[in-house]
């Protein structure tokens, strides 16, 4: 039970702190192994003692994750983009989102794919969604905002 509460928090910590290389110019490989900074503030509901999971530091085993479901799928997204099959890239991104639905990086990734397909309305919604999960990650917020600015010029 505790694990079930902790895991999403830890995972979102990880992704929130990950750096991200934009993909809008060329499909760049995604490197997301930067370790999470322990102690990054995460608010989970009101600070009632019973509802706040203990802020445990990210376990060592999580810091050098081998290949996770998401990272494997993101590699497939890269492959699909390289092959010019944007729709497959979108499909694989969505598959990754079903597994990690609050991973801001994946939402941003999908927004970028839609941007490249010139589906701007879809891209805008997805980018805003990415932003809503990007709390605490200034770099990613900046990247999403850049994309939103480009979308406003379309």
């Amino acid at each position: 039970m505790m694990l079930r509460i902790l895991m999403p928090v830890l995972l979102s910590l990880l992704s929130a702190c990950a750096s991200y290389i934009p993909v809008n110019e060329s499909p760049a490989p995604v490197e997301r192994s930067e370790p999470a900074r322990p102690g990054t503030p995460v608010l989970v509901g009101p600070p009632r003692p019973e509802s706040v999971p203990e802020q445990s530091p990210v376990p060592a085993s999580r810091q050098s994750v081998p290949a996770t479901a998401s990272s494997t799928l993101l590699a497939s997204v890269d492959a699909a983009m390289a092959a010019g099959d944007f729709e497959r890239a979108a499909a694989v991104s969505e598959r990754a989102l079903r597994i990690s639905p609050r991973d801001a990086v994946i939402w941003y990734r999908l927004a970028n794919i839609r941007y490249q397909q010139q589906r701007y309305a879809d891209a805008r919604g997805l980018a805003r969604r990415a932003l809503s999960y990007a709390a605490g990650d200034a770099t990613l917020q900046q990247q999403v905002n850049d994309l939103l600015a480009r979308l406003d010029n379309q």
């Binding site: 009101p46 479901a69 799928l73 979108a90 694989v92 999908l110 919604g125 997805l126």
Partner: protein, 776 residues
């Protein structure tokens, strides 16, 4: 010469000429007939295209470290896919599950987003989730290395199909996909000289006649595979000699123009092998699925021999209905194979002593999950006409989650029965339930009736009823979005008299006829106070509320009546699901979807229905709203379910009850699932249930079974936590400020209750408060 002689002289050539003429004419007709047969056979066979049903698939199971699946659930998936439990996994479609460890060789599948390869995986289960997924690889020198597998996707379970008008179903394959043993078995028992004859086999007929005579029963047929194919392709009831001759010529014509392999492949796909209700099972690939729930390539020699025996009489030798006969027939096939040298005596011995291994009769598939299928049909109708669905062999990949649907199907009826106040005339209380993915808007399960699998009126889609207090979150969200209100806004929960649009006096009341006086916005929503809601709603304006409903995804026009504030808005359960879905995904509207992708029968992507999402409210506003909706389970109208859901809280939700207890509603969500339950009678009579005593209990029973995941919504950056007096008051006294509780606020938007207490408090209090608000 007499006249008579002359006549005779002239008569003879006339007669002869007529004979020649008629012979010539007959020959011409025969030739024309043969040419016609030849033309017909060439035309029909070259363009041989079967009408193929659309196949509908559930969402595939994804196995990865941390996936919320336990061994029992994965076992269920494997059973439904027809995987076989074995002692040692040696081939695809086999698994071994023991002590929390699963070894499985998957089959692989052509998905719309790429090929999923067949893999051998070892899966360790933890408590209600997958602890690890790994693969063993054996190197050339025999060393076994284990590497972790990031992700394994099982093939999707086929839930149902949309059949062609002919009722024929088949899964055509090319010859190289058919096991050689099956071909040998068929040739051995049906047409030994298939590769030698020209379509008709006089020797074969004689031999069959002789063999059958000696054994006193029909064990061999005289007609060749080619003739049988013709018979199947041009199926007529006509069994006259003329028809037989015609078929023989057609067989000859077929052999003249097409190769043996082409004819054999057509035969393997065409032949009738069973009847499943209104669905006719054609071809050996489908027969393998139908009788053994497994692909043809995974079947044993004994199983293949059983199938090879079926063309003689699919109903007579049906292994489910006539196991004795089927067994004898199978062994006849095996004996023929041994006699003709296709198998050894040892193989014969072991195969002929094998027990029948047919799977249970599958559920009638055209009736599977009818409520969900109504939605799939409606969604598909936008892009596909009925003919395409019935004949082009499309594969439809839906969002249905079998675990969710089956759990709901099992839990719903007893849960409804438990709350039902049985009507005098025995009319059953009815129910509908919609469960969607909180993040994506994909429909995971649907019930259109309290009885799973019921066909008919689909209440989830079509029971359009007033939603009562389910509307309140839209009103409170509209207020939060306006920027003027906070969770600590003080509302007046006191009797009022209003004048409606048509000049009537209207005095709404609270559900329990009590009034709360001054009450916080937060508590008014959690406790579903009508008068406080009317106070708020009249202040922000009905039009603002209706605009918010539109933004949240409601698509019908709503009249601007005051009664809208108390839920005089009609929605079907599916529409309520759309509305709450938007709240569950933090203010992002996504259309609810039941279909993810459509491919051709070969797996080529035709259409994909991707995620769409549109921001309709500020995530900070939705976060604040959700604090109150979570409190519904703690101090509000759903606290009675807190015990049932002890392992699942915090969750967010709202009860709804309509006039005269006609409708009992509950809508709520966790991190993974959003669910809506409606209870009511089809004739609109009093149910005797409130949202809390009816729908909530059903919702909690189902969601507890589904282990709905707690809400772990992260606070947006703009949220701060502040102390407010426990007692709501427009001008709190110093005493009020002594007893406080924490509430979240949007930064820079603190209500009077907070600021006044801060001003009244001591310097020390203020320091402590600031410290607290910084470090939650």
């Amino acid at each position: 010469m007499t006249d008579h002689e002359v006549k005779q002289e002239r008569q003879s050539p006339v007669w002869r000429r007529r004979l020649i003429w008629s012979l010539g004419l007959g020959l011409a007709i025969l030739v024309a007939w043969l040419m016609w047969i030849d033309y017909q056979v060439r035309r029909d066979f070259a363009a041989l295209q079967w009408a193929l049903p659309a196949r509908i698939y559930a969402r595939p199971a994804e196995l990865y470290t941390g996936a919320p699946l336990n061994a029992a659930v994965v076992n269920d998936y494997l059973q439904q896919l027809g995987y076989r439990q074995v002692d040692a996994v040696a081939g695809s479609g086999e698994f071994r599950l023991q002590g929390g460890q699963l070894q499985v060789q998957t089959r692989g599948f052509q998905f719309w987003d790429g090929t999923e390869p067949s893999v051998f995986a070892t899966i360790e289960f933890g408590d209600d989730q997958i602890a690890s997924v790994s693969a063993d690889a054996i190197a050339g020198n025999g060393d076994v290395t284990t590497r972790s597998l990031p992700l394994v996707r099982l093939e999707p379970v086929e839930i149902t199909q949309i059949n062609p008008a002919t009722g024929e179903d088949r899964l055509p394959v090319s010859l190289d996909q058919v096991p050689e043993a099956l071909i040998n078995a068929i040739i051995a028992v049906e047409d030994q000289r298939f590769y030698q004859h020209w379509g008709v086999d006089p020797k074969g007929i004689l031999r069959a006649f002789w063999v059958n005579l000696r054994r006193g029963e029909v064990v061999q047929g005289g007609s060749t595979l080619t003739q049988q194919l013709v018979k199947n392709l041009y199926l007529t009831q006509d069994r006259t000699l003329r028809r037989k001759v015609e078929e023989a010529f057609m067989a000859l014509a077929l052999e003249l123009h097409f190769s043996k392999d082409e004819i054999l492949a057509a035969y393997l796909n065409e032949v009738f092998l069973g009847q499943d209700g209104s669905r006719a099972i054609h071809g050996f690939t489908l027969a393998a699925q139908y009788y053994f729930s497994r692909p043809l390539t995974e079947l044993s020699l004994a199983e293949l021999a059983l199938l090879a025996g079926l063309p003689r009489g699919a109903s007579f030798y049906n292994p489910r209905r006539n196991p004795e006969r089927a067994l004898n027939r199978r062994n006849t096939v095996l004996r023929n194979m041994a006699a003709q040298g296709y198998i050894s005596e040892a193989e014969y011995d072991s195969a002929s002593s094998a027990q029948l291994s047919t799977s249970l009769r599958p559920a009638r598939r055209n009736r599977a999950y009818p409520a969900f299928m109504d939605l799939v049909r409606a969604d598909l109708a936008r892009d596909y006409d009925a003919d395409a669905l019935r004949s082009e062999g499309l594969r439809i990949f839906t969002t249905l989650d079998l675990r969710v649907q089956q759990t709901m199907d099992t839990a719903l009826e007893p849960a409804v029965a438990a709350v039902e106040m049985v009507a005098d005339d025995g009319t059953p209380l009815q129910a509908a339930m919609v469960i969607s993915d909180s993040n994506t808007g994909e429909i995971r399960a649907l019930a259109g009736s309290r009885r799973p699998g019921a066909v008919g009126f689909n209440r989830a889609l079509n029971a359009v009823r007033p939603i009562g207090s389910l509307i309140k979150p839209a009103i409170y969200l509209a207020a939060l979005e306006s920027g003027d209100d906070t969770l600590a806004t003080v509302l007046s929960d006191r009797p009022v008299e209003l004048v409606t649009e048509d000049g009537q006096r209207w005095s709404p009341g609270n559900f329990d006829d009590q009034t709360a006086g001054d009450v916080y916005f937060h508590d008014a929503l959690a406790r579903s106070l009508n008068l406080a809601t009317v106070d708020l709603g009249t202040r922000i304006g009905i039009d603002t509320v209706i605009n918010m409903l539109d933004d949240l995804g409601h698509s019908r026009p709503v009249p601007e009546y005051l009664s809208v504030l108390l839920g005089a808005v009609d929605m079907a359960p599916l529409e309520v699901a759309r509305f709450y879905q938007t709240l569950a995904s933090s203010g992002f509207y996504s259309p609810l979807r039941s279909v993810e992708a459509v491919t051709t029968g070969e797996g080529e992507r035709l259409q994909r229905y991707g995620f769409e999402t549109k921001q309709v409210a500020d995530p900070a506003s939705v976060f604040l709203l959700e604090q109150a909706l979570q409190d519904v389970f703690v101090r509000g109208t759903a606290r009675s379910a807190a015990e049932t859901l002890a392992d699942n809280l915090p969750l967010a939700g709202k009860t709804g009850t309509t006039n005269d207890y006609r409708d009992s509603w509950f809508a709520g969500y966790g991190d993974d699932l959003t669910g809506v339950v409606w209870l009511g009678y089809d004739d609109n009579r009093n149910t005797g249930l409130t949202g809390a005593t009816g729908a909530l209990r059903v919702w909690a029973a189902v969601m507890q079974q589904l282990a709905i995941q707690p809400r772990q919504t992260r606070a947006p950056d703009a949220i701060v936590w502040e102390e407010v007096p426990i007692r709501a008051s427009l001008s709190p006294t110093t005493e009020d400020c002594q007893a406080t509780r924490l509430l979240p606020f949007r930064e820079g938007q603190l209500p009077a209750a907070v600021t006044e207490c801060l001003q009244n408090g001591t310097l020390l209090d203020r320091v402590i408060d600031r410290f607290r608000s910084l470090s939650p």
